[in-house]
Subunit: 319 residues, 2 copies
């Protein structure tokens, strides 16, 4: 059972601030929206149970370069398992994975990556998997910054999560990442409890091990929570339409459209990666986190676009 | 957006009571469990965020005879659509559905029923479907009692839901019923908000209708939330193991096993349909809601078994 911080913790602190945000249209848009929906008796007031905010994870709450961190986890996992699998030295895609060459892996194609992900994410019980991820979060280091991965969460977004919760919002992750992978850190890193994490799902098999009922992770995919899969999972799992949605790529486009199509006040926000110096700069041509059509619609429809270079005083949590 | 009663409403009322429960081992088992897990500083204390209680719906929170109410909804829906489908008069399984002969339908087999369910549950947007179900709840009548279906919720279980919530539990439905079907009444009938309803899922397609993004219900099944599918969906959607589970059939067996396999205090409860006079009496041989293996394990493992005839002063909400 979990006992970490959770949504209620903000009640113990003074109202959350947005200290890492520079003054500008992005910050002003957020504050204006929150002020309007929380003003009792005002025309845009939204009752607390309907103050649902959904956040993509990769590229929105933490970094996603040079590859999704969950893929880096899978590669570390394959490396850790390699001594028990001497045959991997000569077997693709394991041989390639053990070289750690991300470019070659990308070139090897989706099938190779799916196979590596399945290897790293199946065969164990859900409890064993959570433990494996937690250990990796403790020992794993980002290949370029040398930092633990949870240090590479975005400080302005952490402030935003707190700020929304301080104003009666419930904050959900809705991400293409694996739901059980994200839950291993969502509560300690973001204050988001397990039941507010929605993600891609592997199949689970209910079976008995050592006389005890367990759920064993299977290599087959149950659901991909990306693109049009995001509004569908929001509907299926939450059953409420969010009033605010935060993303950074075309994979979030449908989620933002779905959020904005509801009645009443709405906020759609895109994090635009524009800071090659402090983070990475990428959008329309990127292999990871491509932002193209959603950026066009953001400009056309007046969605809020965060320019990381200009809008954020600090980027990472560790700064 | 919804604005009905929800979990917090109990805070406005005095502590909920179990007035419709006779004194006996079932009632005593519930009270003892709740007292132990809520006693701060006690050896069995469970922090509020982990006080998760999961309830099956059909046969546990409302009746399920002579057939699952969702199937009766589908038959009513086929009847309502029939004028637009004159060909159904000669086409199975529609012809059979229009006769309303439940025995013949059961004999026609699962394929016929799946097809009727798909007809009644697909083609419309999620919002249109919610509206259709709400209208049916208003106009539909149970074939034997002549009552609206939500009158056939069990009063002792409504009291139990309130009682648990008054003691800091969050109450979830985890049912084989369709998640969007159940959400149409879960909040008003049970005080359970949409995000605490887990059920079987149809596929949803994100598309544009009249220039607006919508989710359209597809005939294909995405997930069956029954049997071993229940612990799997609890893990995938809640990400916490419940400490209390309530069911009435072998379809709930895995959910109760999974709940009881956790550490610390646990409660598993089966509603045994033993009252042929006030409700229905059925168990090991029943086509609907068969209770056989789970009843054996309940006796062997000391799970709580509710004898409806002896334990409940009143059965239905309308009494």
């Amino acid at each position: 059972m979990s006992s970490g911080p959770r949504d209620t913790r903000v009640l113990e602190a003074p109202a959350a601030s947005l200290d890492s945000w520079n003054e500008g249209t992005a910050r002003a848009g957020i504050v204006d929206f929150v002020t309007r929906v929380t003003k009792e008796g005002g025309p845009d007031f939204v009752p607390a149970p309907d103050r649902i905010a959904v956040f993509d994870n990769d590229g929105t709450l933490w970094a996603e370069q040079p590859a999704y961190f969950q893929l880096l986890f899978a590669l570390d996992r394959v490396k850790a398992l390699a001594p028990q699998h001497p045959e991997w030295k000569d077997e693709e895609p394991y041989r390639l994975a053990l070289t750690g060459d991300l470019g070659a892996l990308a070139a090897a194609g989706e099938h190779a990556i799916v196979r590596l992900m399945a290897t790293a994410h199946s065969g164990m019980t859900t409890e064993e998997f959570a433990q494996i991820v937690k250990e990796w979060l403790h020992t794993g280091r980002h290949p370029q910054t040398g930092r633990p991965y949870t240090d590479m969460t975005y400080r302005p977004m952490l402030e935003l999560l707190d700020y929304l919760r301080a104003h009666g919002f419930r904050t959900f992750i809705v991400s293409g990442g694996g739901v059980e992978f994200m839950r291993a850190f969502a509560e300690s890193a973001y204050g988001i409890p397990p039941e507010q994490v929605v993600g891609s799902q592997g199949k689970l098999r209910f079976e008995r091990r050592d006389g005890k009922p367990v759920l064993v992770k299977q290599p087959e995919v149950q659901y991909i929570d990306d693109g049009p899969g995001k509004p569908a999972s929001i509907q299926t799992i939450l059953g409420r339409r969010p009033i605010a949605a935060f993303g950074n790529s075309d994979g979030d486009h449908a989620m933002l459209q779905w959020t904005m199509a509801g009645s009443g006040p709405r906020l759609a926000l895109l994090v635009h990666h524009t800071d090659a110096e402090r983070e990475w700069a990428y959008d329309r041509q990127s292999r990871v986190g491509r932002l193209d059509k959603a950026l066009d619609e953001a400009h056309e429809s007046g969605w809020t676009v965060v320019d990381m270079r200009k809008d954020w005083k600090r980027i990472f949590r560790f700064e």
